[in-house]
């Protein structure tokens, strides 16, 4: 069997553009899902009981669904429910945001809960308001524990963007598989796709390891 690796070089422009979309999708999802995650976590922790129950139900539902199903669901159901004609990119972004927000909310909640109650009580005994105690005492400590988790969510998200290829978002996985179908260079294109993901993902995975060591909390 002969392999023709030049096919990868010939399609470099398409692959580079697709890699750009993958990175952009990751960035956009995280940029939306972090503030949304904070809101959902705050609702779960401090809101009125019925709202708290809804926030909990949302988090538990999306943490217990395969992302690929959420992507299909968003693709078929969102246009019918909202009456909007969303582009595949916007649909994929919506599905990723719904998923990652649930994980981020849980990360923030766990981070805030990991700070012992006594600290808030001590801060309030010193005359701080609940808000002040949260901002000055709890959050600075919680952030140290939240950051490494967010970083590993980031890496998972970077990999999970490949799943929106099933609704024809022209990110790396979709474009590589399209070129494969057009050129019949199956092994070359699929290996190139894996190699690009590896080149981008490997340093990120190592960075997460470093952050986990750097921000390790010992009690």
């Amino acid at each position: 069997m002969t392999f023709d690796w030049s096919v990868v070089w010939q399609h470099r422009d398409a692959l580079i553009a697709a890699t750009g979309t993958t990175i952009l999708l990751t960035l956009a999802t995280m940029a939306i899902a972090v503030p949304c995650g904070i809101v959902v976590a705050a609702l779960r922790l401090y809101a009125w009981a019925p709202v708290r129950a809804i926030a909990t139900a949302y988090v538990e539902l999306f943490r217990n669904l395969p992302l690929i199903l959420v992507v299909y669901w968003a693709f078929y159901v969102l246009p019918i429910m909202t009456g909007l004609g969303l582009s595949p990119l916007a649909t994929g972004l919506a599905a990723l945001v719904l998923n990652v927000t649930a994980y981020n909310a849980e990360t923030f909640r766990a981070g805030i809960n990991s700070i012992r109650r006594g600290q808030v009580e001590a801060a309030m005994a010193l005359g701080m308001s609940r808000m002040q105690a949260l901002r000055r005492v709890v959050l600075p400590q919680a952030l140290r524990r939240i950051l490494p988790v967010l970083a590993s969510t980031w890496v998972s998200l970077f990999k999970d963007t490949s799943l929106v290829s099933v609704i024809a978002v022209s990110e790396l996985a979709y474009v590589a598989m399209q070129i494969r179908a057009q050129t019949f260079r199956v092994l070359e294109m699929l290996t190139a796709m894996a190699a690009i993901y590896w080149l981008l993902g490997y340093p990120q995975a190592k960075l997460v390891d470093w952050m986990q060591r750097r921000f390790a909390v010992t009690e």
Partner: protein
């Protein structure tokens, strides 16, 4: 908007077959990735020195490459090199195992390393061999501590089996997609699929948590 859930009841055996494949693939890849992960972790911890960089490269590579890519590569590209043909199910099982074993190996390593080194030294001083120490001192404590992480890995495994739909494994995701396309009732079909996945996954995560709480004391030292 009208909903007609008769599409679900009419195609219950079609969807049921998908659920069966999802469960079978989850259980099989759960077991194989656990076994493979244990071997990989032991190689990383106690294997020959020259092998360690390779094992670390493998683990970190799997953390860097999406499951979708691993599955597609295993199904379409691997047969071209290896010269064997595989059914989608076998390809999915191999792909998922190769991917998830890396995560399982990291869990095992973290569990083993959480047992204080003083215990191994004490066991050495008592005249135990390395194998005896791993089997009798380290593993009994480490396995209990690994439980919560294995619980979430199991839930990740079940979720990842849905990605096998991309290589045409006829599991629940694939069957739902086919039915949604044929019946033009995506809302009903995908809502049903969501319900089924939730009903499988939620008890699994909760069950492992509850089981861990009952046995957590066995892992303390």
């Amino acid at each position: 908007m009208d909903f007609d859930f008769s599409v679900i009841t009419d195609h219950l055996s079609f969807l049921g077959a998908g659920i069966a494949v999802t469960l079978l693939l989850s259980v099989l890849s759960g077991v194989t990735s656990l076994a493979a992960g244990l071997v990989v972790a032991l190689l990383r911890l106690y294997g020959p020195r020259w092998l360690k960089p390779l094992v670390i490269l493998y683990i970190d590579s799997m953390r860097a490459i999406p499951v979708l890519v691993v599955l597609v590569w295993t199904f379409f590209a691997l047969p071209m090199i290896a010269g064997v043909t595989m059914s989608p199910f076998v390809a999915a099982l191999i792909g998922l195992t190769v991917h998830l074993a890396a995560y399982a190996a990291e869990i095992v390593r973290a569990g083993v390393e959480s047992v204080r080194p003083g215990q191994s030294r004490a066991a050495l001083a008592l005249g135990m061999s390395q194998t005896q120490i791993v089997r009798r001192i380290i593993m009994p404590q480490a396995i209990v501590r690994m439980l919560p992480a294995f619980g979430s890995l199991l839930s990740i495994t079940i979720k990842d089996t849905a990605i096998a739909s991309v290589i045409a494994v006829l599991e629940l995701m694939r069957q739902s997609e086919t039915l949604a396309g044929q019946s033009f009732q995506p809302i009903e079909v995908f809502s049903f699929a969501m319900l089924v996945y939730f009903l499988i996954l939620f008890p699994v995560t909760r069950g492992v948590d509850m089981f861990y709480r009952r046995v957590a004391h066995l892992g303390r030292s």
